[in-house]
Each structure stands twice: as structure tokens, then as C-alpha cells.
């Protein structure tokens, strides 16, 4: 079973027909790095939360296949078949269609939109047996929850509009209670947040501490990196800020932290960031981002300034 929880402005009718078709054969099995698997993997039976800045591609439960990279590859030039969508049980949450507050909710001391969403999630978990309350259920499935644009004004929160929001604790309280619900059931949750709109950075730090996994997507569109020749093969960067360390002292850390994403005609891929070898005289042990900055200055004719950026004066 799958669940999709949505923000206010979209409903299942708009999102479902736009879902890309999953790739089920091996011919598209491009070798992604381990870090990409960690970013996209949702196969834990434990609960997990992931915060993205963009809308993620949701996974659907289908009949078992032998494809080992199941759920990682989608053909975005094709749409998911309606039969596939209908074979899965879906729930949606549209704030304006929900019933008004139950009397008990009033004592929660939390933004009402978040409170109602929590109540809805808890109801589905207990009614559909994801909390283990129904031992008769033979097929144990994971409930997958997607929440869009958490923190935006569409949820009735002003944390995106103001540096000093009216109720700065609602968002973090929501995440804490959600974390509890996920830990106590067979479910996983992905949340997108418009972090670039949230002005109060203290709240973002707390949100990260309350999450298991934090990933950021930074698009090159509209930034100076769009025209940088070193980034011409990519559309943006992937920042893995935090990975889960659950049930163990160690965590699954990969070797490289420099990741970029690319949106091709048929596929969205995440790759290790490759920069071409720097064959100029200014080669040194600068970081990749310093290199990109200097390369840009070089290409625009400011050779002397580029060298200066490397802190080497010859």
C-alpha cells in the first residue's frame, strides 16, 4: 500500500497522471555511486524521514521483479500506467477538505493545519494496521508518506514570511510527533521544504536535528553557475547534509561528497561531480568549488584575479 499526503494546492488528480513510468529491465542500469543509493534508498523497515528541497519521485509497490535497482530508475519521457496507479491504495490529505478541529485537538498548542495532518496520518496508520495492531495481515507493507512544501503559507504557517514567526515551535513540534509516529509503525516519510524561503535559520537547524536524513538540491538555474563552463554537463548540485545513524554506532558514509544531478530527456540522474583536468599553470590543491570560481574568471578574461583567488601570487 502506498500513501501520498499532499500539500494544499495540488490533489491526487493533478500529480498522479504526471508520475513517470518505472524502468523494470536491466538495460538502463547505469552504475550510480554508493552515495546515490544511500540518497534514494528507502528500503529500511525502520522509519526514516528525508527532507528534500524539490519534489521527489515517489515509489510505488508493484508485483515483485528481479530487477535489483527497483525504484531507482524512471523513464521520465513516459507516464506511469493507470493500472499501476490503481493497483495501490492511496490516501490524500487536502487541508481545506478536512473536517474542522476535533475538540481534543484544541489543547495541542500547535498550528491547526499540522495538527490535522498528524491526526490524519495517525488514523491511517492505526486503521490500516501499519502499527502492527493486526497480526492477521499476511503481507507486511511499508506505508510511504510524502509531504509537500512543509512550512509554507499553504499550511497556515508564517515561518516562510517572517524572521520572527508567530509560533516558531509548531513546525518542530510537528516533526517531533511525526518522528514518533514513524518510529512506532512500518512507515517512511519524505518531506519537501522550501528552505530558501525560511528566513529564520535557527528553525532550519532544529529541523535538521529532528530529521534522520537531510538532502538539499541546488539548481543552477538563475545562479551564476548556470553559465560556468565547468558545470555545463549538470543542472545542479546535490548536498547530503546528514545521513541516518540508526541502530548502530557507524553509519553508511560514502567516499565522496561532491554530487551533481542532471535532468536528461529520459532520466534524472545523480552522479559524482566530475570536473575536467585543470591543465593550466594555476593548478593547485584548491577545492572543486574554488576551481569552478577561478575557471569562470579565467574564461571571462580576468587571469590575474583568478590566480589571486587561489592565494598564490607568483
Amino acid at each position: 500500500m502506498g500513501v501520498i499526503k499532499l500539500g494544499q494546492e495540488t490533489s491526487l488528480h493533478f500529480i498522479l497522471p504526471e508520475l513517470p513510468a518505472p524502468l523494470l529491465n536491466d538495460s538502463h542500469g547505469k552504475e550510480l555511486g554508493d552515495e546515490a543509493a544511500a540518497v534514494k534508498s528507502e528500503d529500511f523497515q525502520d522509519s526514516m524521514k528525508i527532507a528534500w528541497r524539490y519534489q521527489n519521485l515517489p515509489k510505488m509497490e508493484v508485483s515483485p521483479t528481479t530487477h535489483t535497482k527497483f525504484g531507482h530508475y524512471y523513464d521520465i519521457s513516459k507516464k506511469m500506467s493507470p493500472e499501476l496507479c490503481q493497483s495501490v491504495k492511496l490516501h490524500s490529505f487536502y487541508l481545506h477538505e478536512e473536517l474542522p478541529f476535533e475538540p481534543k485537538m484544541k489543547t495541542w498548542n500547535m498550528n491547526s493545519g499540522y495538527a490535522r495532518l498528524l491526526q490524519s496520518i495517525q488514523r491511517i496508520i492505526s486503521q490500516e494496521g501499519f502499527d502492527g495492531s493486526d497480526p492477521q495481515q499476511k503481507q507486511r507493507n511499508v506505508l510511504r508518506i510524502g509531504i509537500q512544501s512543509l512550512g509554507s503559507v499553504l499550511w497556515g504557517d508564517d515561518v516562510c514570511c517572517s524572521d520572527t514567526p508567530e509560533d516558531p515551535h509548531s513546525l518542530t513540534k510537528f516533526l517531533y510527533v511525526l518522528r514518533g509516529l514513524l518510529r512506532k509503525s512500518l512507515s517512511a516519510c519524505i518531506i519537501t521544504m522550501p528552505a530558501h524561503l525560511i528566513q529564520n535559520k535557527a528553525i532550519m537547524e532544529r529541523v535538521a536535528n529532528l530529521s534522520d536524513m537531510v538532502v538539499g538540491l541546488e539548481s543552477f538555474i538563475g545562479s551564476e553557475r548556470e553559465t560556468n563552463p565547468l558545470y555545463k554537463d549538470y543542472h545542479g548540485l546535490v548536498h547530503v547534509h546528514q545521513i541516518p545513524r540508526l541502530n548502530s554506532l557507524i553509519c553508511d558514509v560514502s567516499d565522496t561528497k561532491d554530487l551533481a544531478f542532471r535532468l536528461k530527456r529520459k532520466q534524472f540522474t545523480i552522479e559524482r561531480l566530475h570536473l575536467p583536468p585543470d591543465l593550466s599553470d594555476t593548478v593547485s590543491r584548491a577545492s572543486k568549488q574554488d576551481l569552478a570560481g577561478s575557471a569562470k574568471l579565467l574564461s571571462s578574461g580576468c587571469g590575474a584575479m583568478a590566480i589571486g583567488k587561489k592565494h598564490l601570487d607568483f
Partner: protein, 264 residues
């Protein structure tokens, strides 16, 4: 427990300390391995432990504790460990039945408009007050920064820690160990206030930091061990020792900076 860390601290489970306030602090990294160490250390030492676990479930600590040689479920059954699972308490508070008069929910401040932590302190006090055969009581908190996210004011958090310290360290001659997060250039002023204040009142500070040069596969971070000798005697200076560490599946190895096994 982590044997190498015991050596660095000069600690042994046969003779646990008394009346000490230890602050665990992490910056740019995850310092939870220190919590696992102290939990298993004090249980091995035979102390009665009250563990306020705000961010993870019981099974998470149990699985790690087994790798460190301690069985949390057994300790709980025998009454040695009192475990408060914050996530479950919060769910009970918001989705559960009406509160029983004799058993107030320790996290009831989450749904109140004037959040103060009296109920949480009462929980700690009741848990550790029973006169039984265990050695000195220990309060362990993971992690304190969560209380701010749940709506508690910084002053309320500091008051709570103060009461716990007076009760556990001074009256019962037990120990308190608390984990907080901090970030350099943090904009979370409330959290920085709490952390700085706690630093001033701690006997021992263990500060785990991510390396300034970024991620490294063989050296996961650096730990500063600060023995606050100035707290007890006026003319003394604090003793600061710095080591680097690498976390493995069942152990954490410590070494002098620059002397990682991968380099030698």
C-alpha cells in the same frame, strides 16, 4: 562501553565517580557514540540509571548496547534502568487517553501554553529516589536541545538542569550526563545560550567535533576532553586534551591528532 575512552578519562566501572556533571557536546558531527558509552559504562558499574531519551527509540539504544556488552531490556526488567522514551510519551500525550491523576505525563509541557519542565523533573526525581541496592544514581539525557524545539524556553531548560543537578549530584551524590548540539556560527541563539551556560557549570566536557577540513574516511572527528579543574579550586587551570577518533561497529578507537592508523 568504550575501553579506550575509559583510559583517556581515567575512569573504571569498578569505581564510578560521584557528584559529577558531565556535558557531551557535538559540533558538525554526531556525538551519540558518547551517549552509548556512558549508558553502558554506568550500567556495567552497577549504578541506577534514569535515561531521558528524547530523540530515538528504545530498540535503537538496545541494539547498540548489546554490541557494547550490555543488555538494556534485562536492566530495565531488574529495575536498574528507568527509560523514558520521549517520542512515545509525546504520542501518548496527544493521541492517548486522558491523563491519570497519579501519573502525569513527563512531557506535558508540549501541549501547554506556559511550558515549564516541572513534570519532567518530577519524573526524574521519582525514578531515582527509590532506595534500592544499586550504586549511586545517574541521570542521562539525550538530547537537551530537543526540549527547545518542543517549546520550552531556555531559562526553563536551565532551571530543569539546575534542579536535576542539585538533586542528583549534590543530594544523592550521583552523576548527571547531558548531550547538547551546538554549531559554530549558529543562529539558534537560545540553544547557544543553553550550551554556554551548561559549559560553565560542568565538571567534565567531552566535545566531539567534525574535522574542520571536511569529511575523512579514517578519521571521523576530533574530541576535546576538558577537565574543569577551575570549577573546584580557584587557582587551577582547566586541563584540555585533544584526540582524534574513528568509529567502528563495536568500538571507537582514539589516537593522537595526525596519528591515525591509516597514516602511520
Amino acid at each position: 562501553m568504550l575501553a579506550e575512552l575509559n583510559e583517556l578519562l581515567g575512569a573504571a566501572p569498578e569505581r564510578p565517580d560521584a557528584g559529577k556533571f558531565t556535558l557531551l557536546r557535538d559540533t558538525r558531527t554526531d556525538g551519540s557514540f558518547l551517549v552509548h558509552h556512558f549508558l553502558s559504562f554506568y550500567l556495567r558499574a552497577g549504578c541506577k540509571v534514569c535515561f531521558v531519551a528524547l530523540l530515538q527509540s528504545f530498540s535503537h539504544y538496545n541494539i547498540v548496547a548489546q554490541k557494547l556488552g550490555v543488555n538494556l531490556a534485562a536492566a530495565k526488567e531488574q529495575g536498574q534502568l528507568v527509560f523514558l522514551e520521549g517520542l512515545q510519551s509525546c504520542l501518548d500525550l496527544l493521541f492517548g487517553e486522558e491523563e491519570q491523576p497519579g501519573q502525569p505525563n513527563p512531557l506535558q509541557f508540549v501541549s501547554r501554553s506556559t511550558p515549564e519542565l516541572r513534570a519532567l523533573f518530577d519524573f526524574v526525581r521519582v525514578s531515582l529516589s527509590a532506595a534500592d541496592s544499586w550504586k549511586g544514581p545517574v541521570l542521562l539525557v539525550d538530547d537537551l536541545s530537543v526540549l527547545l524545539s518542543l517549546g520550552a524556553a531556555p531559562v526553563a531548560v536551565l532551571d530543569f538542569i539546575h534542579y536535576c543537578r542539585v538533586y542528583v549530584c549534590c543530594q544523592l551524590k550521583g552523576n548527571v550526563v547531558v548531550l547538547v548540539h551546538s554549531n559554530e556560527d549558529s543562529e539558534d541563539e537560545e540553544n547557544e545560550l543553553v550550551v554556554n551556560s551548561l559549559c560553565h557549570h560542568s565538571d567534565l566536557i567531552l566535545w566531539a567535533e567534525g574535522l574542520a577540513t571536511g569529511f575523512c574516511k579514517d578519521v571521523h572527528g576530533q574530541i576535546k576532553i576538558i577537565k574543569r579543574l577551575s570549577l573546584r579550586q580557584a587557582a587551577e587551570q582547566d586541563l584540555v586534551q585533544t584526540y582524534q577518533y574513528k568509529i567502528q561497529d563495536r568500538n571507537v578507537s582514539f589516537f593522537a591528532p595526525g596519528l591515525s592508523a591509516a597514516v602511520l
